[in-house]
């Protein structure tokens, strides 16, 4: 099994305007998804992010909320383990927010050290 980072990307302005009901509903849906990933042994870690934050570059700091890619900013992450990139992708496809069209998921493999190439 290899590790993959799933980045949930959605429109933070929309998310900002959720009613408490909608906010709860999406959280519950994601919770159920995490539970099923735990059951199948794929879940490692996850957290949701607040909409605020800062964006830091060499000569600047932006601190006014969703930044460059406003429509697809990261709202949360899930660290999973999966057989390969294909399976990780397949797992990402069952993200409830993705299935509703609210979010897209970026699936990135964690850079791992190839133990067979380690000396000593």
């Amino acid at each position: 099994m290899e590790k993959f980072l799933l980045l949930i990307r959605e429109d933070l302005k929309v998310r900002e305007n959720y009613s408490p009901e909608e906010s709860r509903r999406t959280l519950l849906a994601m919770g159920a998804w995490i539970e099923s990933m735990s059951e199948s042994g794929n879940f490692v870690n996850a957290d949701a992010l607040l909409n605020s934050g800062s964006y830091v570059g060499k000569d600047y700091i932006l601190s006014d909320g969703p930044f460059i890619e406003a429509k697809e900013s990261i709202s949360g992450f899930i660290l999973i383990q999966a057989e390969n990139q294909e399976q990780a992708t397949s797992i990402a496809q069952s993200c409830p927010l993705l299935m509703e069209g609210i979010a897209v998921v970026e699936v990135r493999p964690i850079w791992f050290v190839d133990q067979t190439k380690l000396k000593g």
Binding site: S38, G41, Q87, S94
Partner: protein
């Protein structure tokens, strides 16, 4: 008609697979449609003429003819005629509970490129032979959701020719061995779906438990199993033994301490214990821990005699192997009953800090229960009220309301 339903249940996946092999150029979805049409066509004919002596063969022949007609209708068919195999053998008559072909299909569905949920869905479709409506119901998904999932899976099946080149059972070797952990996991997940209490005491869910047990037994019968399969089998047997006791006479959800243990199936528990002892020789897996915990529950006469210290130890080791917050919840509960109340509440309160878990009804219901046992009735009521707002499942709601009713008079005093 009963016979048609049973035939569908035992043969759908196999018929589809056989026709796919014979007609590789035809769309999987088309083949499924034709097989389903053949079953539909059988009803009036068999009612009128009686059931044929080779019912599976009848369905196969009709399906095959329908597929041939589909091919003939397509322009390029003349070219294909020379390449299609028109003499594929009929699917056979009476076959044992789980034959080579179904086992092949099971391993074929255990493709590492597919998410576990997708593996479960295609196993339910092509091995357990459930219809889409039933799969949707059982997994709590919409029919549309399942269809979309199948469309994507069909593409993969199409591209990878999963059902064409099912790993050959007897020249098995590496592929099969590599897939066994995935197969074990699929069986585990199917059983869990059947065992969940979310939708109350529905027959179809218990049938899933049986299907999972059958698939597991098939692995043993064909000597395709490993140590994990044995531990998994023991776990499922321990749970299956207790199926009948989970609900009360009015269909209400019962906690472990309220369950009538005389309803537990002694024979299954004895069998499970034997299987677990054999599995003990193999390398330890998460199934070993879960099965051992189940064993500790099943082999004591009443709730009060439960060895919670050993159970919490097992959960602790399980967590080391497979860290996840849901196992931590069970660990915390076991710790409370083992007498380590402080650590129990520490873990539970930590879990509440997790955004996703703070919405998890079972966490809050568990906090409600433990606060109730500890005599903190106000806190217990608050947690139960919170849990009530977090589930839409009626049996669970009824259960929580029952608890709240018990607590309210205690607060008044």
């Amino acid at each position: 008609m009963q016979e048609i339903n049973l035939l569908y249940k035992s043969h759908f996946g196999k018929l589809v697979a056989t026709l796919l092999k014979a007609f590789p150029s035809v769309n999987l979805e088309t083949i499924e449609d034709q097989v389903q049409d053949a079953f539909a066509a059988a009803l009036p004919v068999w009612k009128r003429d009686g059931i044929p002596s080779n019912p599976a063969g009848w369905i196969f022949t009709v399906s095959r003819n329908k597929v041939l007609n589909t091919i003939k209708e397509e322009k390029r068919t003349r070219f294909l005629y020379e390449y299609e195999d028109f003499h594929a053998p009929a699917a056979g008559t009476r076959e044992p509970a789980f034959d080579d072909q179904q086992l092949q299909l099971l391993f074929a569905c255990a493709h590492p490129d597919l998410a576990p949920k997708v593996q479960v869905v295609i196993t339910l479709k092509y091995v357990v032979n459930l219809k889409v409506e039933a799969i949707a119901k059982v997994l709590g998904m919409t029919i549309d959701g399942i269809d979309k999932l199948l469309v994507r899976a069909r593409q993969k099946i199409r591209d990878e020719k999963i059902l064409f080149r099912e790993p050959d059972l007897h020249n098995a070797g590496a592929t099969l061995k590599a897939r066994l952990p995935i197969v074990n996991k699929i069986i585990y997940l199917v059983f869990n779906e059947g065992y969940k209490t979310s939708w109350g005491k529905e027959i179809i869910r218990e049938e899933l438990c049986e299907e999972a047990l059958l698939m597991c037994k098939a692995l043993f019968d064909h000597k395709m199993h490993n140590g994990e399969t044995a531990a998994l089998y023991a776990l499922m047997l321990f749970n299956a033994a207790r199926l009948k006791a989970r609900f009360g006479p009015a269909g209400e959800l019962l906690e472990l301490e309220e369950q009538d243990r005389s309803l537990w199936n002694r024979n299954l528990i004895i069998l499970a214990s034997d299987v677990l002892i054999q599995a003990a020789e193999a390398p330890v897996s998460t199934y070993h821990f879960e099965a051992s915990i189940a064993w500790l529950h099943c082999t004591v006469r009443d709730f009060q005699s439960t060895d919670w210290k050993s159970i919490s130890n097992l959960y602790r080791q399980l967590l080391q192997m497979n860290a996840n917050p849901f196992v931590e919840l069970n660990y915390a509960i076991a710790l409370y009953y083992a007498g380590d109340k402080q650590q129990s509440f520490e873990i539970l309160n930590n879990l509440r800090l997790h955004t996703f878990l703070s919405q998890y009804y079972l966490l809050n219901a568990s906090l409600g229960k433990l606060h109730f046992l500890a005599g903190n009735y106000l806190a217990a009521k608050d947690f139960y009220r919170l849990a009530l707002s977090q589930t839409s499942c009626q049996p669970e709601k009824d259960f929580i309301e029952k608890m709240i009713t018990r607590i309210l008079p205690l607060i008044a005093n």
